[in-house]
């Protein structure tokens, strides 16, 4: 018997270079690093807020460091990318069937984008940006 199936191992640490779609996937996943780090920043902010006005002002000043600005800029890109991938996925996780037909995926995603915009503008208004 001469069967000798050839098993081709998947390179466990570099597999995502095999195809652009894997890189796209990994970049989506990596946004979590920025989100996580940004959350830590928020926790620190909360601490400052709870420690009185001076501490809060110090926190706001600390935000102005170039490193912080660069980080927040990247975090903004990452979270927007996360949001887009998340909303695009909603149609898959929660398809909507009316009668025989399914509501077109881009309508579901589109609705999420609209809601996102409305909420964001709302937050901006509450925060007194306008």
């Amino acid at each position: 018997m001469s069967r000798k199936p050839l098993v081709r191992e998947v390179p466990p640490t570099t597999w995502y270079f095999r195809h652009p779609r894997y890189l796209r996937y990994m970049s989506r996943e990596v946004t979590s690093i920025f989100v996580g780090a940004y959350c830590v920043l928020l926790v620190v902010g909360l601490q400052s807020l709870s420690s009185g006005e001076a501490a809060w002002e110090d926190f706001l000043m600390a935000l102005r460091s170039p490193a912080s600005i660069a980080f927040q800029f990247l975090a903004l890109i990452a979270t927007v990318y996360h949001a887009a991938t998340w909303f695009n996925a909603t149609q898959k996780a929660m398809p909507l069937q009316i009668g025989e037909d399914f509501v077109a995926g881009n309508i579901i995603s589109g609705a999420h984008y609209v809601a996102w915009a409305v909420l964001s503008v709302g937050v901006l208004i509450i925060a007194g940006v306008f």
Binding site: P5, V7, R8, V10, H19, K92, A93, M94, P95
Partner: protein, 275 residues
């Protein structure tokens, strides 16, 4: 060509020319020399795989499978691969074409330039040349109980289970899987964790779960809701991108994660929920 109602007279197509003639270049020269680089492996003679280069004259509208068939008939009878239907429905002819899992009978030469690289589907052991061993998939398919477990039994003589077109449409898409395994070749999580039951098998479980006639979801959950089941999926989405039958396994798996989570909550957090 116009979209209007055709009449049987006047002529649909002018005898010499007109729209139909654009279809025809009788005896026309639409041949093209195609170069392929095909992975070869023969356990009888090789310890490793290697690429073999072929050049073959092909028609413009041919698919990669046609090129392989011509190679096998005219150049090299020792090249091995599977195929049957040549119409993207039997699911035999999956291979990696320029790194992408494809049905070779549905990979049009016109969409490739330069040397076309043809390899066996990744993530499966190679039996020989482009022939892989699908045993793992076949075993997993069986495990998810992909058959109707009726909600209420009914004798055939009592007629059909009623099912409205809307109830049918709910699962129809997921019943279209041709078991070609392209999604397994595309899913990196399957590659990294081979015990993962994988997109197609899980999707078929979902297909029966959401069939209005079926009552077997609970049984299937014993397999679906395990670590090797839906929870191994990180929603890469590659499965749906490569699926030639537009099954969209990624969506099925996402929906199964949601229902499995709800199940868990009912079982663990709601008193008396563990029925």
């Amino acid at each position: 060509m116009s979209n209007s109602l055709p009449r049987s007279q006047p002529p649909l197509a002018a005898p010499n020319g007109g729209a139909v003639a654009s279809l025809g270049r009788p005896g026309g020269n639409n041949e093209r020399l195609v170069q392929l680089e095909v992975l070869r492996y023969n356990p009888d003679t090789d310890t490793e795989a290697h690429f073999q280069h072929y050049e073959v004259m092909c028609q413009e509208e041919w698919v990669v499978l046609d090129a392989l068939n011509k190679i096998k008939a005219d150049i090299d009878p020792t090249l091995n691969y599977r195929w049957s239907c040549h119409m993207a429905v039997c699911g035999s002819c999956g291979m990696m074409i320029n790194g992408e899992p494809k049905l070779s009978c549905h990979a049009f030469l016109r969409s490739y330039e330069g040397v076309i690289r043809v390899e066996p589907l990744t993530h499966f052991p190679v039996e020989r040349d482009l022939v892989t061993a699908p045993d793992d998939f076949m075993e997993k398919l069986k495990r998810v109980k992909p058959y109707l477990i009726p909600k209420e039994t009914k004798a055939v003589s009592e007629g059909e289970y009623k099912q409205t077109p809307a109830q049918l449409m709910k699962f129809r898409q997921y019943s279209m899987c041709i078991n070609c395994m392209l999604c397994y070749a595309a899913c990196p999580e399957y590659g990294l964790t081979p015990s993962f039951i994988g997109p197609a098998a899980l999707t078929l479980a979902h297909r029966y779960n959401i069939d209005s006639r079926d009552g077997g979801r609970k049984e299937r959950q014993e397999v679906v809701a395990t670590h090797e089941g839906v929870w191994e999926c990180t929603f890469v989405g590659a499965c749906s991108e490569v699926c030639p039958a537009h099954v969209d396994p990624a969506s099925a798996l996402q929906q199964m994660k949601i229902t499995s989570s709800i199940d868990w909550i009912v079982e663990h957090l709601i008193p008396g929920g563990k029925s």
